[in-house]
Symmetry: C2
Subunit: 83 residues, 2 copies
């Protein structure tokens, strides 16, 4: 499982669109608050590998490309534990 | 905007994995409770068009293929209004 505290520092850039509280601030963008951590990791890996396209995937592909597997686990832990 | 009541009947099959209450019952699957409706529509369209691959996308592609645009709007309305 990831380290939510380490994820918090990596997640500052995420907050610009997905909200500091995990509620998205841009219409059509997903809320991440309380989301399943493994799902977030799967989504980030699919963006990084460019398997996930369509929708706003072009926004996320370069973001995910900057994250290591550990970063993904940590960011996922951070959003998933939000109440 | 979609019709949440109409979406409820279409969403019975969704509940098998994503939970009747929108909290996923399978590890790694996303919670849909309170998710942004436009995001859910975007995701379903990307699955139907097979632009979205990776992760468990192969599970969702055939599900989304069975939904019309109106069905997608309705199902999205149903999950997004869950508290």
């Amino acid at each position: 499982a990831g380290d939510a505290q380490a994820g918090k520092s990596k997640a500052a850039i995420c907050a610009a669109c997905h909200g500091a509280n995990g509620i998205a601030v841009i219409p059509g963008y997903p809320n991440l608050k309380g989301q399943n951590a493994q799902y977030i990791v799967n989504a980030l890996k699919s963006y990084k590998s460019k398997e996930r396209t369509g929708g706003n995937a072009l926004v996320m592909q370069p973001q995910a490309a900057m994250l290591s597997d550990t970063d993904m686990e940590n960011v996922a832990a951070y959003f998933s534990q939000m109440k």
